[in-house]
């Protein structure tokens, strides 16, 4: 699968109602570490079809960012059955991201 771009219109369907666990990445285009993380997320999405990887642009989706209290980026959340089960901040390796699902 590829990384899905999520906004307030598809958030419920793609994230909250997802049958698969979701890794949500809050990012911005001007954030260097977010750009560093991007290829790692793409690889994760490709290699692990049992996980959904979604990204949310904080500049465009202020409401969602506020809802998750995102004050620093990249901010990562693991959401299973509509609930946040784990979170992380900053650039992570593929192995570290997978560990968030344990």
């Amino acid at each position: 699968m590829s990384v899905i771009l999520v906004n307030k219109n598809n958030f419920k369907e793609e994230v909250l109602d997802s049958s698969l666990p979701v890794l949500v990445d809050f990012y911005a285009d001007w954030c260097g570490p977010c750009r560093m993380l991007a290829p790692v997320l793409a690889e994760l999405a490709d290699e692990h079809p049992e996980i959904k990887v979604a990204k949310i642009n904080v500049d465009e989706e202020g409401e969602l960012a506020l809802k998750f209290e995102v004050m620093n980026i990249p901010s990562l959340f693991v959401i299973k059955d509509g609930k946040v089960t784990n979170r992380a901040l900053g650039v992570k390796t593929k192995a570290q991201l997978l560990a968030l699902f344990e």
Partner: protein, 311 residues
């Protein structure tokens, strides 16, 4: 890639890593860079790099990293995205174990750099991502018009405070000593900025808030007075520590964990070099990291010639 024995494997894709790759490939060495994220290292956390020579308009860190990578690839350097898990330096060729397989090399250049130090204050881990961060350039825009505090007194802290002062309503700079150490151009700017306030001889003892940070408790280490500072964000810029755990049992490290190597970048093991922020040195900048990269490649080439003529 995994069956090949490279002349030179470089661990780390920051300025030191890609400069050594550039010089090594141009010297005719088969070269592999192992980087766990994207190129650039710590440079990616800076949006405006004004002190790397040659960019007369400044450059953003991520772009500079990409340019350095492309510059090395132009001459044949190969990159793999993987994380190094262990190294075996006793054998020849050297073995590098990663999460994407094992690689072999005659010479090794360690350019793993450094990462942000944590303050160790109460509430720091709790509010990580919810108002506590380490990269003002990354998060600064999220605090437009708000009040923030920066902890630290060196180059990172003063540069971060300067950047934030242009975006935020108010910036406090909290430093445990009585003078700031950063580059004069930044400290002078901060002294004159109307929305910047220095809180010297002080340390953050507690970070508080509910769902996100709302204040910090600060202790003046001269008077013992404790006060509360209401803030929307806290940036911790107290310096870095070297990424050298992989080499703790094989290479000589100094008490802070830096790999012992002088400007020749040679470590205590022949054919193994340490370039950039990870080695012992007086001044850590992008430009000194690139210098190390070139030097390491030079001595790697010399080493390869030596073992080729012997073997």
């Amino acid at each position: 890639m995994q069956d090949k024995i490279f002349d030179c494997v470089i661990i780390g894709g920051g300025p030191a890593g890609y400069t050594s790759a550039l010089y090594a490939t141009r010297a005719g060495l088969s070269t592999l860079i192992i980087e766990k994220f994207s190129p650039g290292g710590q440079m990616t956390q800076t949006m405006e790099i004004d002190n790397y020579p040659g960019f007369d308009d400044g450059v953003d860190g991520f772009t500079l990293g990409e340019k350095m990578k492309r510059g090395a690839e132009r001459f044949g350097a190969e990159t793999i995205r993987a994380e190094v898990l262990a190294v075996d330096l006793d054998t020849q060729p050297r073995k590098i174990v990663t999460d994407s397989g094992d690689f072999f090399a005659h010479s090794l250049i360690i350019a793993t750099g450094a990462e942000h130090k944590h303050l160790g204050a109460d509430g720091e881990e709790e509010f990580l991502g919810r108002g506590v961060g380490y990269c003002a350039a990354c998060d600064g825009m999220l605090y437009r018009g708000k009040t923030v505090a920066v902890v630290g007194g060196g180059n990172s802290a003063t540069a971060d405070a300067a950047l934030l002062s242009k975006i935020c309503k108010k910036v406090y700079l909290i430093h445990r000593r009585d003078t700031l150490r950063g580059e004069r151009i930044n400290t002078e700017y901060l002294k004159n900025a109307p929305n910047v306030e220095f809180i010297l001889n002080s340390e953050v003892v507690l970070i508080e808030g509910e769902r996100k940070i709302s204040s910090v408790k600060i202790k003046n280490n001269k008077t013992g007075d404790i006060s509360d500072l209401l803030i929307d964000g806290l940036f911790i810029s107290i310096g870095r520590r070297p990424v050298s755990e992989l080499f703790a049992s094989t290479l000589a490290l100094d008490p802070s964990g830096y790999i012992i190597a002088d400007e020749s970048t040679k470590t205590n093991i022949d054919g193994v070099f340490a370039a950039g922020d990870v080695r012992t040195k007086p001044f850590r900048q992008i430009v000194t990291a690139t210098a190390d990269g070139a030097t390491a490649a030079h001595f790697a080439e010399e080493y390869i010639s030596k073992i080729s003529s012997n073997g």
